[in-house]
């Protein structure tokens, strides 16, 4: 490199070099740009006539075809979501003249509500100008004939037969299925516009939302020959739309309806699971609403009214309701304690009716004095003091650990996006969300499922199903098979999430035997359940405080004096039969501590013995 010896000159040489190249580059780019302009002149000026003719004779248009949405059945083939034919009034904006003047004229023939018009304006924004937009989704027969007579006055408007979603069982499955509604701009940005160019609705909630892709299917296209105005003359070629998959839920609609009937008049939720597979047999949240209201679009006034009803029917208590675990926490903690030998099953503790920590004045009360209790009796009679003592031995880490292993504090994974994870409280959690330190008293009340522990009925059911399975933790699922039209059925294989193992596997049965006594022993808290000669049952009750108990208060009697919304919630978890469980369930009844047990009795009698069928 001889040039490196004279760097000074080198730099000016570099400047010269790059400047020369800049001029050269400019020259080349100008030539290329001129070439482009030349090409455009050739196409647009010289060949203009040819291409103009080609454009006016361009005789093909693609018309998208809407796929038929998949149907939803229960496990026995009972139809839960159907498509029914309706006549709708559609409009192609490109072809209509003077829309502002036309709409009131149309309104004289067909009743157009304010809702119809606002929804139409929204869709107008989203769809292409040449796509059909529904103006009114469901016309009466009178309206159809009245408009048909005047059709010629309204170019661009057309009456069209289309399918809309229908939920034959109305209220009963709304919290499972969700509903279909108009596509909003948020959803619009997430879908493939080509696949939805003929669709006007999308799953908003529940199964309809979770399985949107499967249910929707694939749009088809029709190539049509058009005249100069773009009117279709004849169909040249057709790609049929692929209908969506049909879904079969694991839900037994008989059980679901039975549960709903039994829970009528209460606020609450119930989830029943087949333990071996994790398949959900019933999912009820009461009260409910009619999903059909949403299909045609709901007015904001109606929606507001639904939202503001004191019983909150839109609220899916089964997967979004957060309740204290209350005493239903006890079997899990007892299992953890005996399996780690923190207490022996036969060890007894004396319950004087209250409990105190060594270094504190605070008195933790029990419902009443249970006297001498061992593990089995502690569960059977739901003795709080026994579990206060266990809490001091377990410590909050162990308590949290076992709760996490049974699935609390995280979503269960059921196919409902709206599910919430609940709370397993810990010192970190409390510091972060309550901004206060953790006291030993927090650990004590955690042991009876109070404090900040919160779970959904779905989690309660999944956890008791795991217990029924002796540790096999299955993911709760709603869809158990699906079928693409003309294809073989695909079964959803049960998903094993985890296998909880114990140091001594016999401890499962120790806890389960104690839970059997909850129903069978005369002093069991669910002895009211009554006789059940043809099946065995293991269960646990729970009472969640809504209103902080006053010191002098004495439980049951005073409850009746409280205003309804301050009364305790009743919880009940159960599975049956004990040896080969067919059903595990959790139920919560708001502000009524006694209603849960008889409801479960009714359902189990029905499900396991067939008593009560047909009523």
């Amino acid at each position: 490199m001889q040039k490196s010896r004279i760097p000074f000159k080198n730099i000016s040489h570099e400047v010269q070099l790059t400047t020369r190249r800049s001029w050269l580059a400019l020259l080349i780019m100008l030539i290329l740009a001129l070439l482009l302009v030349g090409r455009l002149a050739y196409l647009q000026l010289y060949k203009n006539l040819l291409y103009t003719t080609m454009s006016t004779h361009n005789a093909m248009d693609l018309v998208p075809l809407e796929p038929t949405r998949g149907l939803i059945y229960d496990r026995n083939g009972v139809l839960l979501a159907d498509n029914i034919p309706v006549f709708s009034l559609d409009l192609i904006p490109d072809k209509a003249h003077n829309l502002a003047k036309m709409l009131p004229e149309v309104g004289k023939l067909v009743h157009l509500s304010e809702l119809d018009l606002t929804l139409f304006q929204k869709q107008l924004k989203q769809h292409r100008r040449f796509e059909e937009i529904p103006l009114k989704l469901r016309l009466t027969e009178v309206e159809v004939s009245r408009f048909a007579e005047n059709q010629h006055r309204f170019p661009g408007f057309l009456i069209k037969g289309r399918l809309i979603r229908h939920y034959p069982l109305g209220n009963s499955f709304s919290h499972v299925l969700g509903y279909l509604g108009q596509i909003n701009s948020d959803e619009f940005s997430k879908i493939d516009p080509a696949n939805y160019s003929a669709s006007h609705a999308i799953g908003k909630l529940g199964i309809e939302k979770y399985y949107e892709e499967d249910l929707h299917g694939k749009a088809g296209y029709q190539e049509v020959e058009t005249d100069a105005n773009g009117e279709a003359i004849r169909v040249l070629k057709q790609t049929k739309p692929t209908p969506g998959k049909n879904l079969y839920l694991s839900i037994d609609s008989n059980l679901q309806l039975q549960a709903e009937k039994a829970m009528t008049g209460h606020r609450g939720a119930l989830v029943a699971i087949e333990p071996a597979t994790g398949q959900i047999l019933a999912l009820v949240s009461m009260p409910s609403y009619d999903a059909n209201l949403f299909v045609l679009g709901i007015t904001s006034a109606d929606f507001k009214q639904l939202q503001q009803m004191p019983d909150h029917p839109l609220y899916n208590r089964a997967v979004r309701g957060l309740y204290p675990l209350a005493s239903t926490i006890k079997p899990y903690l007892a299992l953890e304690a005996i399996d780690n030998e923190l207490i022996a099953p036969e060890d007894t503790i004396f319950d004087p009716g209250w409990f105190m920590l060594n270094n504190s004045e605070h008195v933790f009360r029990d419902m009443h004095a249970h006297g001498t209790v061992n593990l089995s009796r502690a569960i059977t009679t739901s003795c709080d003091v026994y579990f206060y003592e266990l809490a001091t031995r377990l410590g909050i880490r162990r308590i949290d650990d076992v709760l996490h292993r049974f699935g609390f504090g995280e979503v269960s994974g059921v196919e409902l996006e709206e599910e919430v994870p609940g709370v397993v409280s810990s010192p970190e959690w409390k510091r972060r969300f309550k901004k206060t330190p953790w006291y030993e008293g927090d650990t004590i009340i955690s042991a009876i499922g109070q404090g900040n522990m919160q779970a959904t009925p779905m989690q309660l059911a999944a956890a008791v199903a795991t217990l029924a399975n002796r540790g096999k933790r299955m993911v709760p699922t709603l869809v158990y098979k699906q079928q693409e039209p003309e294809k073989p059925i695909e079964y959803q294989t049960p998903i094993l999430l985890d296998t909880l193992s114990l140091h001594d596997e016999e401890n499962w049965d120790l806890i389960i035997q104690a839970m059997q006594k909850v129903v069978d022993s005369p002093e069991g808290t669910a002895h009211r359940f009554g006789p059940h000669p043809s099946y065995t049952i293991a269960a646990k009750t729970g009472t969640a405080q809504v209103h902080a108990k006053r010191q002098d208060e004495d439980g049951v009697e005073n409850q009746k004096k409280l205003p309804e919304q301050f009364r305790d919630h009743g919880l009940f978890i159960a599975f049956a039969p004990v040896d080969q469980p067919k059903i595990a369930l959790a139920i919560i009844i708001e502000n009524d501590r006694l209603a849960a047990v008889p409801i479960v009795k009714e359902l189990l009698d029905y499900y396991l013995t067939g008593i009560g069928t047909g009523t």
């Binding site: 490199m1 040039k3 490196s4 760097p7 080198n10 730099i11 040489h13 570099e14 400047v15 070099l17 790059t18 400047t19 190249r21 800049s22 580059a25 400019l26 780019m29 100008l30 290329l32 740009a33 070439l35 482009l36 302009v37 090409r39 455009l40 002149a41 196409l43 647009q44 000026l45 060949k47 203009n48 040819l50 291409y51 103009t52 080609m54 454009s55 006016t56 361009n58 093909m60 248009d61 693609l62 490109d94 924004k125 989203q126 769809h127 292409r128 100008r129 040449f130 701009s185 619009f188 940005s189 058009t226 773009g230």
Partner: protein, 375 residues
């Protein structure tokens, strides 16, 4: 700025100009804003008056404008210092996209990090010229054979990785970007000619490495009527749209070709056809003039830059900008094969907007950060 101006300015002391203070170059800025505005009008029509699309494009523009402003604030010295790192990171992401990238439109071009999706190949459009300019600033020009070999490595690794995604359009653009730096660095013209000749003879070999759909595109390019309902359909329809536009166009929102389903990708790669149909030859010439104005301003900034690094960087960025609109228009008008490149500043989409506007931001940075002593 001529010497005379500079002397005048020195006499009267530094005058304060807001654009200098903000490190913006007004001529570039105005031309860009005009193009963006035109683009929105075309997009409104191309997207069949879908306002959602316009709202989103406005968000893209805001984001890109923010980045442009940020990039313009960074002095070229900093870019120079970071050049090897930027290249390294871009290469890392490019490999990552091959391993874990989203599959979008049949090609793994996107990488999604915490919800934000981007194409790492876009980074390479800056990383390659940055690293090459950094490198040539260190060695002495003209290029030695060893320097040339290293340069080839710097260029071809990302180009091959991008072509493998497979994204032929961007790969070609990256190759051109790298080549443009070499061109400015004074690669001998004889060498360039002989290399082009070699490439031309090597084309059949390229055929062998192509994906099936890429071969289809080449065949269709050579003879669109070969497959009028399939792959050739796009080009024929695009030509009809352009040709039927005539001298003044059919008028805004009235292009029949674009509004029926005839034109594919009419909001992205083929948006130029919509513009041609509705605004005609006149509109196209105005559009091209605006682009060429930016190109000339870019070259002016590059050749007046103070050191080799910025001169090479500025020149290369300008050429890349030119090529991106030239290739797009060339493919839509049927003089180049369809390679799937958007029209900068006009096509719908965030990635290409950001790339184009960051390019302009770099040019502005070069223009407005001047050292007192020329090296």
């Amino acid at each position: 700025m001529t010497t005379h101006d500079r002397l005048q300015r020195n006499k009267s002391g530094p005058t304060f100009r807001l654009s200098d203070y903000l490190h913006l170059d007004l001529p570039l800025l105005w031309a860009m804003l005009l193009l963006l505005l035109l683009g929105l009008f075309i997009l409104y029509s191309a997207g069949n008056q879908n306002l959602v699309l316009i709202e989103k494009q406005l968000m893209h523009i805001l984001l890109a404008a923010g980045l442009l402003f940020l990039v313009a604030q960074v002095p070229p010295v900093t870019w120079q210092r970071w050049a090897p790192w930027i290249y390294g990171f871009s290469l890392f992401f490019l490999v990552a996209v091959l391993l874990i990238g989203h599959i979008g439109k049949g090609a793994q071009r996107w990488l999604s990090i915490s919800g934000f999706r981007f194409q790492p190949a876009e980074f390479m459009k800056f990383a390659i010229p940055l690293l090459l300019a950094w490198y040539y600033n260190k060695v002495h020009l003209p290029l030695s054979f060893k320097t040339l070999l290293v340069s080839a490595l710097i260029i071809f690794i990302p180009v091959l990785l991008t072509a493998k995604q497979p994204d032929l359009g961007t790969a070609i653009l990256l190759l051109a970007t790298g080549a443009s730096v070499l061109f400015f660095a004074g690669l001998s013209l004889r060498f360039i000619f002989s290399l082009s000749l070699l490439l031309l003879t090597g084309l059949p070999l390229l055929w062998y490495f192509m994906h099936e759909y890429q071969r289809q595109r080449v065949l269709t390019f050579l003879n669109p009527e070969r497959d009028p309902l399939g792959a050739g359909y796009h080009i024929i329809q695009s030509k009809i749209a352009i040709g039927s536009g005539g001298f003044f166009g059919k008028g805004w929102l009235t292009g029949t070709q674009s509004h029926l389903h005839f034109l594919p990708e009419h909001t992205t790669d083929f948006i130029f056809a919509v513009c041609s149909e509705e605004f005609g030859f006149t509109g196209n010439v105005i559009l091209i003039l605006l682009y060429m104005f930016i190109v000339m301003r870019g070259l002016y900034i590059a050749s007046n830059a103070q050191d080799t690094f910025t001169r090479l960087l500025g020149g290369s960025i300008t050429i890349t900008f030119f090529l991106s609109f030239f290739i797009n228009m060339g493919m839509v008008t049927g003089i180049l094969p369809v390679v799937g490149l958007p029209l900068p500043l006009v096509s719908y989409g965030g990635s290409s907007l950001v790339t184009a506007m960051v390019s302009l931001g770099m040019l502005m940075s070069i223009k407005t950060h001047r050292k007192l002593i020329t090296t």
